[in-house]
């Protein structure tokens, strides 16, 4: 799949270079604490929509998430954790993106529609047993690239919608971008749900392909 010059680009490079592995594993505690403190904050008003104008589509109005999913003890504690670790999550993401850009890693990791769409569809057909053989796979298959690119976009939505509800007046343009304060707050929670869903699928798939876990720890062989 890769052109000859692209092949030489990965020569001597590990499948998972150190900075990618570092950023990946830092995400584990960071996302767990962000999710837990976020749910603790949400528990102070476990509803979506403004007072007197709750959203009709949200099925769990007034139902707080279970205690074991929460972190930070109480509202003020959770806010301190959330606003403290948020910076580290943003920093981790920025370092990761700069590294991917500078080292050309995005080329083998990110979803490029022209290159990966067909492969993603064929891969999905293979998973659904509509096709007997998997399409040719280089570094990642099209579906993997789609998933990993989507989750970066999702992280961006989480950061921006979070900032929108953190300072809805000062960062009014972010509030507008997400359709208002209560809408931004709903998007922030839905984003958390999608991140949770991604993590669940991710865990199942790497359990089925344990080599991916080894590579994310050791870095894998040099190419």
């Amino acid at each position: 799949m890769e052109a000859a010059d692209a092949d030489s680009q990965w020569k001597g490079r590990r499948a998972q270079p150190f900075l990618i592995r570092l950023a990946h594993w830092l995400n584990v505690p960071l996302l767990l604490i962000m999710a837990g403190s976020g749910l603790q904050i949400f528990s102070a008003y476990p509803a979506l929509g403004a007072r007197g104008a709750l959203y009709g589509w949200y099925p769990w109005q007034g139902k707080a998430p279970p205690t074991w999913l929460r972190f930070g003890g109480w509202l003020a504690g959770a806010r301190h954790w959330h606003f403290a670790l948020g910076w580290f999550l943003i920093g981790n993401g920025i370092i990761y993106l700069i590294y991917m850009g500078a080292r050309g890693e995005w080329r083998r990791r990110m979803f490029l529609p022209g290159r990966d769409s067909r492969n993603a569809v064929l891969m999905m057909a293979y998973y659904l047993r509509l096709r007997r053989a998997a399409p040719p796979i280089d570094f990642y298959n099209g579906l993997q690239r789609l998933a990993y690119s989507s989750v970066i976009f999702l992280a961006l939505v989480e950061v921006l919608s979070g900032l929108a509800i953190y300072k809805p007046v000062q960062l009014w343009w972010l509030e507008v971008l997400f359709g208002g304060y209560d809408s931004a707050r709903a998007i922030h929670l839905i984003g958390l749900g999608l991140l949770g869903l991604f993590t669940l699928v991710h865990l199942v798939l790497v359990a089925l392909h344990p080599r991916a876990i080894i590579e994310m720890i050791t870095g894998g062989k040099r190419g």
């Binding site: 904050i41 949400f42 102070a44 008003y45 509803a47 403004a50 007072r51 007197g52 104008a53 930070g72 003890g73 109480w74 509202l75 003020a76 504690g77 806010r79 301190h80 954790w81 606003f83 403290a84 910076w87 509800i165 300072k167 809805p168 007046v169 000062q170 960062l171 009014w172 304060y181 209560d182 707050r185």
Partner: protein, 231 residues
């Protein structure tokens, strides 16, 4: 210029100090969270644009009266003492006591903005009252008073603010809500209402406004909530 810079640095340091004091009382307090709390207090202050106005909302956005939450810390609803007045003092040229009538004779400002509670809910009402900015001019507030403290007859509930937020165009001493006189559950006779702070900063059942050189914490702030509390 130089003295202005020094003052700014001092203000930031004092604000950070008060955030630190708040964190020390937190059950989950730790050196890490304290440092980040100080950093976030600076971010909060940095993001605040003294001239930036919150968007005013149309009448249709108004929250139905009984759906706009209200609370007080006293066991029973606080009612104003007979002969209620508002004392404005501290670092001012002319400490003054205002009656409700006197406040109502000053320039009346009406605004309908979104209310942001630290718990995450929002609600909308229109508020009317007098800008604290006008009161500050009337009493001759000292330019070196970088902080403003609000005190109440609700079991001593209080909060202290940075001067810039207190003198923001959308910070009122409100005596009316949704076109009516302020009701006891929303802080009658006079409460602080602002478009640029979280709800817990807006002291109800107001008795005193003091211009200060140092912040004096607050009821929730001293229990661990952010001191700046901007939105």
């Amino acid at each position: 210029m130089a003295s202005e810079m020094t003052r700014r640095r001092l203000l930031v340091a004092v604000a950070a100090g008060s955030a630190l004091a708040a964190c020390e009382r937190m059950a989950v307090g730790s050196g890490f969270l304290e440092s980040l709390g100080r950093w976030n207090a600076r971010v909060d202050r940095f993001l605040f644009g003294p001239a930036r106005l919150a968007g005013e909302l149309p009448p249709a956005a108004t929250t139905p009266g009984n759906a706009f939450p209200s609370y007080f810390i006293s066991d029973d609803m606080p009612f104003p003492p007979a002969g209620w007045t508002l004392k404005v003092g501290g670092l001012v040229a002319r400490p003054t006591t205002f009656s409700l009538d006197q406040l109502q004779q000053m320039t009346r400002i009406d605004m309908r903005v979104r209310h942001h509670c630290v718990e995450g809910w929002s609600a909308v009402a229109s508020w009317h009252g007098v800008r604290l900015r006008e009161i500050a001019e009337a009493v001759g507030a000292d330019p070196h008073a970088g902080y403003v403290e609000f005190r109440s007859f609700d079991s001593g509930y209080w909060s202290s603010w940075d001067r810039e937020s207190a003198l923001h165009k959308q910070t009122l001493l409100a005596y009316g809500m949704d076109g009516e006189n302020l009701m006891p559950d929303h802080g009658a006779p006079v409460r602080v209402y602002s478009a640029v702070k979280l709800g817990y900063k807006m002291v109800k059942y107001l008795t005193e406004v003091n211009f200060l050189a140092e912040p004096s914490g607050g009821y929730w702030e001293d229990q661990g909530y952010e001191w700046f509390g901007g939105v």
